[in-house]
Structures are given as structure tokens and as C-alpha cells.
Symmetry: C2
Subunit: 188 residues, 2 copies
């Protein structure tokens, strides 16, 4: 028997990503988002949604670029910090210890401590209501060698990314693999 919980954003899991931007003054900022996801394979695109008051909002409009930085679970505390406080009145890099380097490809900062980064150019801005959805075209993926397996593929056990569960607002990392996609279903 299922209960009605009303119209709420209670789907799971959602990703936990650090969005990197430069504001009009050139100050780097990081903001944590869980409203986002991959949205197209070709061109490769990702969505991130922000509320208009967020400091990153104006920065993305201004620079037409952002990075999506995947933090490992080791950094869950400073990552949460970047979702609580605003870059308008905080220097979140100094406060968390995260450091950045300017992307060579887009006008946005890459987080040194994040082992997987998508460098994105702003493709579309879609006003939905409380949130604005930005569609970014992934210009390149940068990955630390430490998260690659022997065949050069990203190993989720090494990447150790964070999930957010809107239901009880908990963070989780991943279990060991439970199977191979586009493969295990054929056994049925």
C-alpha cells in the first residue's frame, strides 16, 4: 500500500556536485547542488539548477560557463559547507581549503581536490520557477589517474562519489558494484 506524500522533490538518488564559477570580479566560487543530471549524450550535456539568489547564478549568466566538480566522500563536510553558505558574503575556498585552477577551456575554475571534472559552456537557460535550469555542454572531462581502472575507465569505487537523498536529507556514498548495465538484463 502506497501513501500520497504530495507534490515534492522526493526522488532518489541525486548527485552531489560542486559547481565552479567566476563572478564579475573574477572571484572563484563553489556551490553545492543536487538538482542536476546528465541530459544528452551528443552533444554531451548536463543540467544544474540554481535559485536566482545564489551567487553562482549571476556568474553563470555573466561568464556563460561553469564546471561540475565531483567530490569524493572524503570531502563530504566541506562540500556540505559550500551548499549552506553564499559566495556573496563568504570566501568558501579559504574557509573550506578547496583550491582551484582556471580551466583552459571554459571561463570557470576547476577544483584541485575533485578527481572528476566536467568543463561546461552554457548552452541553455530555462526558467522553471524557484529554480533556473542551466544546460551546459561538456567540452571536456578531466579525471585524476587515481580514479581510473587498468583499462582507463572511471572506477566508482575509486571515485567514491556522494549521493543526496531528499527524503531524509542524508548523504551516502556507493555500495560495491551490484551488476553491469546493458548486460545483466539479458540473463532474464
Amino acid at each position: 500500500m502506497k501513501q500520497s506524500l504530495g507534490p515534492q522533490t522526493l526522488l532518489a538518488p541525486t548527485p552531489v556536485w560542486l559547481v565552479g564559477t567566476y563572478d564579475a570580479q573574477g572571484k572563484a566560487n563553489l556551490t553545492t547542488i543536487a538538482w542536476g543530471g546528465i541530459c544528452c549524450s551528443d552533444p554531451p550535456c548536463v543540467t544544474i539548477s540554481l535559485q536566482r539568489p545564489r551567487h553562482a547564478y549571476d556568474a553563470i549568466i555573466e561568464r556563460k560557463a561553469f564546471t561540475v566538480n565531483v567530490p569524493s566522500a572524503d570531502y563530504v563536510k566541506p562540500t556540505d559547507y559550500c551548499g549552506i553558505y553564499s559566495g556573496k558574503d563568504h570566501d568558501k575556498l579559504a574557509e573550506t581549503g578547496f583550491t582551484v585552477a582556471k580551466s583552459q577551456l571554459v571561463d570557470a575554475p576547476c577544483v584541485d581536490q575533485c578527481p572528476l571534472i566536467a568543463e561546461c559552456k552554457l548552452l541553455q537557460t530555462i526558467e522553471l520557477g524557484r529554480h533556473t535550469m542551466f544546460v551546459g555542454q561538456i567540452i571536456d572531462i578531466k579525471a585524476a589517474e587515481s580514479v581510473l581502472d587498468e583499462s582507463g575507465k572511471i572506477d566508482p569505487a575509486k571515485l567514491n562519489p556522494i549521493c543526496f537523498n531528499p527524503g531524509n536529507r542524508s548523504y551516502n556514498s556507493l555500495s560495491p558494484s551490484i551488476g553491469q548495465a546493458f548486460s545483466m538484463g539479458k540473463q532474464l
Copy 2:
């Protein structure tokens, strides 16, 4: 040191959801997606992206509705099945054993075996390239009592949702909680 992997959809984690639709003939279909995410809190909205040849594509255009059904890891094999084969030449419900009931709120089927379901009305259709992104407004969330904690919140350990990792195409479930969002960052 980070390597360039080129413009690819290699971000993680992504959700694994079953999208439920009725086609023009009224046949229920389920298709598995990992390109999607929550995109707005108010109105509550979710994106799912599909390639135009997918059977669900025409169904969503026709019915202006879909459901997002969250399967638990116990159903990873039939869920993978629904992402491999097309509803155009398969009756995926009969083949997987998934059963559905018509939503009372939107013109789409709800999967009995999925403990968490978002019933969505189509709000926007955004052509991006290989994929089309559908923005659905969440009209209601239905949750099985078995996935709720004592306070009525969705417990991810009970929900046991599936993640997909584009890097090595593995499925994973979640680890136990690693912290509380909007809270643990304040300890910094």
C-alpha cells in the same frame, strides 16, 4: 595530475529510474533511464532524457504525462532489461514480471514493484541533440510504507535505490549514511 578524457557524459552518480508511459494504443511500457534528475523545487520538477527512437518518446508526446518509478536494487536485473529492449517489439511487463496500475492523477502507469513513484505531467520538451529532455511537473509522490522511517520520511536504506556509473557502466546501490546535509558543514 588529471587526464583529459574528451567531451563525454562521464559524470557520476546518475539515478536509475523506470519511466512509465502508455502508448497511443494504451499499452503500458517501461523504459530505464539514467539521464535525468530533479530540476526545480517549486513547482517540483524532474527531467528525463530519451532518444527519439525510444518507444516512450512518442508516448510522452501523445499523453503529455509519465511516471518516474524508483526500483530497489532487488530489481536491478529486470530494470536493466527495460533499458536494453524496446517497447516497440517487446512486452516488457510480461517479460520482466513488472505489473502496473493506472495513475489516478496523470495518464501514465505506476509500477507496483517500485516503492517510490513520481506522477508527472509534461511541462516542457527540449530538443538537445541525440536526446530530448522532458521536464515533468511532479503532481504527487507515492511511497510504500515499507520505505518510510518512524517520522514518515523516506529512508534510503529501506528504499535501496540504484545508481549508474557511466564510467564503467556499473550499477551500485548506496552505502550507509555518511552524514546529514545542511548540517555537517556547519562543523567546519
